[in-house]
């Protein structure tokens, strides 16, 4: 059967899928072996643990925190130290990568919660969201897009960048954010509206 365009033919796809299913238990066995060695405080295993997973944790945190290198790096270290403290609880029900990113997610939410707990003064005029749309340049993608987004988030007051990250990158609703911060849902929605407005203004003006 011939393939269409760049896609492999169905027989090849099926072979790959079966192969992936067969290697999944092997990957989890590797994870369990690595965890066992790290728990025995084998220095080489610990180095392998960092080398293998630091990239994924770093990339995850970079996308979800204000673009401050020191902040991101501190949190990467906190994730790995938290992982060490709870590593004996790893059972292999998910991959070690997924487990670590789960810890990273908790750290990110702790960060958002701590910084968005402070009350804000409410400006009636500032909360109205304009009708202006976010003008997306269809030619911008990849690293250029990421850099532009990060640059604008860096310019925004921290509560605005954090509430946008929490809403759209972490996909939390206003209700969930309100529950975690002790603020009302309306207060979170007003903050989101102001944040979107400020982001759009900078994005469309650039």
């Amino acid at each position: 059967m011939r393939s269409r365009g760049n896609l492999p033919d169905p027989a090849t796809l099926l072979t790959r899928m079966v192969g992936q299913q067969a290697t999944r238990p092997a990957l989890l066995a590797d994870d369990l072996k690595l965890v066992e060695d790290v728990l025995r405080k084998d220095r080489k295993a610990t180095a392998e643990f960092v080398e293998t997973y630091a990239g994924a944790v770093y990339a995850y945190l970079r996308r979800r925190l204000p673009p401050r290198q020191d902040l991101v790096e501190d949190l990467v270290q906190e994730v790995f130290l938290a992982a060490w403290r709870s590593l004996s609880q790893f059972r292999g029900s998910a991959s070690l990568r997924v487990w670590l990113l789960g810890i990273a997610r908790h750290k990110v939410e702790d960060f958002y919660r701590d910084r968005l707990r402070q009350p804000e003064s409410y400006d009636e005029d500032a909360h109205r969201e304009s009708d202006a749309e976010l003008v997306m340049d269809g030619h911008m993608e990849g690293t250029e897009l990421e850099q532009r987004v990060q640059a604008i988030l860096a310019e925004l007051p921290q509560p605005y960048s954090l509430v946008l990250l929490w809403r759209y990158w972490e996909k939390r609703s206003a209700r969930e954010m309100a529950a975690q911060t002790g603020r009302t849902e309306k207060a979170i929605e007003r903050l989101l509206a102001r944040a979107r407005e400020q982001f759009k203004k900078r994005w469309n003006d650039a």
């Binding site: 060695d37 025995r40 405080k41 084998d42 220095r43 080489k44 295993a45 610990t46 180095a47 643990f49 960092v50 080398e51 630091a54 990239g55 994924a56 944790v57 770093y58 990339a59 970079r62 996308r63 790096e73 990467v76 270290q77 790995f80 130290l81 060490w84 403290r85 969201e129 749309e133 976010l134 997306m136 993608e141 990849g142 690293t143 897009l145 990421e146 987004v149 946008l164 809403r167 759209y168 990158w169 609703s173 206003a174 209700r175 849902e185 309306k186 929605e189 007003r190 989101l192 509206a193 979107r196 982001f199 759009k200």
Partner: protein
């Protein structure tokens, strides 16, 4: 005010496109720092695995670890962390792509593939 904005789709696309584009490599300096912090945390709850046992498990030692392994000292000393006093750690934590090159050193491994 509802938890819905006409801009939701655009912001969600931004978040998704960033997710797809982000690279996955951490700076070597950060990996070095994290590794050192982990070793400190591990040592805080008792001795590390000795270099002799590490080698018996089939893992390779750097030249300094091997010196510790063959030295006529007790196993307790061989469980000590020689990286604490090694300049590879100092350079690894301070510099990106530090000038350390000996085999089987974690701070060399964190530099990533050799650049041509």
């Amino acid at each position: 005010m509802p938890d819905f904005s006409p801009d939701d789709a655009a912001f969600e696309r931004l978040a998704e496109s960033e997710r797809e584009s982000s690279a996955q490599s951490a700076p070597s300096r950060l990996k070095a720092r994290v590794f050192s912090a982990l070793q400190l945390a591990q040592a805080g709850s008792g001795p590390l695995r000795s270099v002799s046992e590490t080698m018996r498990d089939g893992r390779k030692l750097c030249v300094f670890e091997d010196l510790v392994r063959i030295a006529p000292i007790g196993e307790r000393i061989k469980s000590w962390n020689p990286c604490r006093v090694c300049h590879a750690r100092i350079l690894g934590e301070a510099f990106e792509n530090p000038p350390v090159f000996w085999p089987n050193c974690p701070y060399v491994m964190f530099k990533g593939p050799k650049r041509s």
